[in-house]
């Protein structure tokens, strides 16, 4: 009997969006189909984000209680894994992730928010409950008063993980004490920073932990209604949240008299419609009320007057995901982690030029170097480490020379960047800092809601100046203009979007000023990114004359006969770089 050989075998395949993008659903389907057709008894389970996105598709085979993790699994590899490992009991060593690599990635991490990610089936409430889920809610409702819950959160030192870092306990207490009813709890899942995917991963991998956090918040502040505002660009997260809500309703974890206590709470989902500014809390409220998402003056803060003018508590996904753990393990356990001013852990989306990119959770206070080198395994491809971009369009670039900076709110703020929501993009020497500044300004300029003049027009003027510099037409006075505008936009904008929009420019000016000057004076882009300042050439000795670049060139700038070296007409060339991407012989160079 083949089934006996397999013993108790569980196969987990990571199918959060990253896993699916790499082909995870096909791998999962192939495992299920092949095991089924061969009559092998083994459990095939979908799971969420395992974290090591760079190795997607990831599959874990647990046979005889021994977990083995495979990386870069394809449907073609499934048969051999079943044959040799599931049936034969011998892992296919050449496809198993080396233990030192897994250790390197995991050893500095401390998983609280991500405690269930990649372990449980995100679509199974049973899995969540089996791993201790909803016990924190039980404890809160059964053993603590609402003020007792708030006290626990306050003592844990938890600060809002959406970017601003406001003390969560204080926010809850303010909403609790505010007059007026009904009160609302809102989960901000409008994760809009480019380069950030922490909240998406949590929602896709462990939606119930967010629900439980919101329920506890609802009890603590005295709210009966919760809303999850999630961006429409995350269809899988929405789908899994909807499923989780239905399951929670079935189990009477939502509705009236939850867990037999005098506590009623309902939750629903609202989809964002693609406006970055709606990540700002007052704009988000406007959006839920069915208006254009334009921020308003604070105070009054939402805790006093929020949705429909009622007291409203807004936290982001990661903040809520911390709550059940804190309730279960106690405030002290959480406060022990991190630094004096920044307690606990923080989730980062590690991406860009890094060997091991993925979703990581580290104690606050770990240094940038430790994240990049020890967890991320350094920079691939032999190029030097140039810096990290933290905090997306509201943050900045921290140069490699400051790599020993501890990652906590205060230390990062001193560099001019912000911890932000957790996007961490590693950059090597091929990144142009003026181009990065232009990239973010282009983003904020497009996303400015238009309410404040300095943000609406000022970011536009800054963008034009940056475009002039990257276009080879910058002059010496441009840098002073940029700094003046930056200062004025920061001073005169109403909301966080405008107040922080100049940060990417200011930090790159602070740490990479010589690159700006090089663009202006020498008309040179050392990273060879700025199209107006570079020339594409084909090295005749290396060109096999295959014609591929001719086929791809959008402006017919490349000519040459078959098997003869091709040439690029510099006058026609738009420097899009397609030729360099498609050339198999590296015959195209940039000067």
């Amino acid at each position: 009997m083949i089934g006996d050989y397999a013993g108790s075998c569980v196969i987990k395949v990571g199918i959060a969006s990253c896993g699916i993008a790499a082909g995870g659903s096909k791998v999962l389907g192939t495992f299920a189909a092949q095991l089924n057709s061969r009559g092998i008894e083994a459990t095939v389970k979908p799971t969420g984000c395992i974290g090591m996105c760079y190795q997607e598709v990831l599959a874990e085979v647990i046979r005889d209680n021994r977990p083995v993790l495979y990386g870069k699994v394809t449907p073609e590899r499934v048969e051999r894994i079943i044959e040799e490992h599931v049936i034969g009991g011998h892992p296919v060593e050449e496809w198993v992730l080396p233990q030192d690599e897994v250790d390197g990635f995991m050893s500095r991490q401390q998983r609280i928010v991500l405690r269930n990610c990649g372990i449980i089936d995100p679509e199974s409430i049973e899995d969540y409950i089996d791993s201790g889920g909803y016990r924190a809610l039980e404890k809160a409702l059964g053993k603590l008063t609402p003020l007792g819950v708030i006290d626990e959160i306050t003592r844990s030192g938890l600060r809002g993980r959406g970017g601003a870092g406001f003390a969560t306990g204080v926010k809850w207490l303010n909403t609790r004490k505010a007059g007026g009813s009904p009160k609302y709890v809102i989960c901000n899942a409008d994760e809009g920073d480019p380069g950030a995917f922490m909240d998406r991963s949590v929602l896709e991998s462990d939606p119930h932990t967010v629900l439980e956090g919101m329920l506890i918040a609802g009890y603590a502040i005295g709210a009966g209604q919760g809303i999850i505002y999630v961006r429409a660009e995350y269809p899988l997260a929405i789908q899994r949240l909807e499923k989780a809500l239905a399951q929670a309703r079935d189990r009477k974890l939502l509705g009236e008299g939850i867990l037999g206590h005098k506590f009623d709470f309902n939750l629903n989902i609202r989809q964002g419609a693609g406006a970055f500014v709606c990540g700002e809390e007052t704009a988000l409220i406007m959006s839920i009320e069915g208006k254009r998402g334009m921020p308003r003056l604070r105070p009054p803060f939402p805790s006093q007057s929020g949705l429909w003018g009622r007291p409203t508590n807004i936290n982001n996904v990661e903040t809520f995901a911390n709550v059940p753990w804190i309730m279960q393990h106690g405030a002290e356990g959480y406060a022990r982690l991190g630094t004096a001013g920044s307690r606990g852990t923080k989730v980062f989306a590690l991406a860009g030029s890094i060997r091991r990119g993925g979703l990581i959770e580290v104690p606050m206070g770990i240094t940038i170097r430790e994240i990049v080198e020890e967890i991320g395994g350094g920079i691939p491809g032999g190029l030097g480490f140039k810096g990290i971009q933290l905090g997306g369009p509201s943050g900045g670039v921290i140069p490699a020379s400051l790599e020993d900076t501890p990652v906590d709110y205060e230390s990062i703020n001193r560099t001019g960047a912000i911890v932000g929501s957790g996007g961490m993009i590693v950059m090597d020497e091929s990144a142009c800092m003026v181009d990065i500044a232009r990239f973010f300004l282009n983003f904020t300029q497009e996303e400015s809601c238009g309410k404040c003049t300095f943000c609406r027009i000022g970011t536009r003027r800054m963008l034009e100046t940056l475009e002039r510099i990257t276009g080879g037409e910058g002059n010496e006075t441009d840098l002073a203009v940029l700094e003046e505008l930056a200062h004025e936009i920061k001073q005169s904008s109403l909301c966080g979007l405008g107040q922080t929009a100049p940060n990417p420019v200011l930090t790159t000016l602070k740490y990479f000023r010589d690159e700006y000057i090089e663009h202006i004076n020498a008309k040179k882009c050392r990273a060879k990114k700025c199209q107006a300042l570079i020339t594409y050439l084909i090295k005749p000795d290396d060109c096999p004359g295959c014609g591929l670049c001719i086929k791809y060139c959008p402006v017919n700038a490349i000519t040459g006969s078959r098997k003869q070296p091709h040439t690029i007409d510099a006058a026609k060339c738009i420097r899009c770089g397609l030729c360099i991407s498609v050339c198999r012989k590296d015959a195209v160079t940039v000067t």
């Binding site: 380069g195 693609g274 069915g290 590690l350 860009g352 993009i425 990144a431 791809y552």
Partner: protein, 168 residues
């Protein structure tokens, strides 16, 4: 993406009324209503804006203001296939512009536009949140990562072939 045509005025208005009715109890329902209309048609047919305003008891200008504020809403019908190119930070560094260029070449649709044959629309999105598989795109909602200009072109070619074979 399968989308209906809004040409038969009568049917479309009945449908809109039904969507409004479904959300009627909720205050501030205009955005979910618009989302459902776009789900149905692939865009917000300008003709429905006035109807919506009448039904919801707001000004048509307010609705137009919402439609143009949020980047999710389109006022033009999209092509049969919608390709969204991610321009997040990691994708930008990883060559999103080159992907877009290649996709434009293969589809005939430049960014933000629909190809003349109506088969493809290419849109730019700020971030799909798949940064560690950058650069990435979605094709009719399905995500593809770790692309280069060639593999992105192949995806378009496969779509064309599929269409061709189903048309036969």
């Amino acid at each position: 993406m399968q989308t209906k045509s809004a040409s038969t005025e009568k049917t479309s208005l009945a449908l809109i009324d039904a969507i409004v009715f479904k959300h009627n109890a909720q205050p501030g329902a205009v955005i979910p209503v618009l989302q459902e209309i776009q789900e149905e048609y692939g865009y917000i047919p300008p003709a429905v804006i006035q109807r919506l305003a009448d039904q919801l008891g707001v000004f048509a200008s307010d609705i137009y203001g919402i439609v143009t504020f949020y980047s999710q809403f389109r006022l033009q019908p999209p092509g049969k296939n919608v390709i969204k190119v991610c321009h997040g930070t990691a994708c930008h560094l990883g060559g999103a512009d080159r992907l877009a260029q290649s996709i434009a070449q293969h589809t005939g649709a430049s960014e933000g536009k629909t190809s003349k044959d109506g088969r493809f629309t290419m849109e730019r999105v700020a971030c799909l949140g798949c940064c560690s598989l950058s650069p990435c795109i979605t094709v009719n909602g399905e995500i593809h990562g770790r692309l280069n200009p060639e593999s992105a072109g192949e995806i378009v070619n496969r779509l064309k072939e599929k269409e061709f074979s189903t048309a036969e």
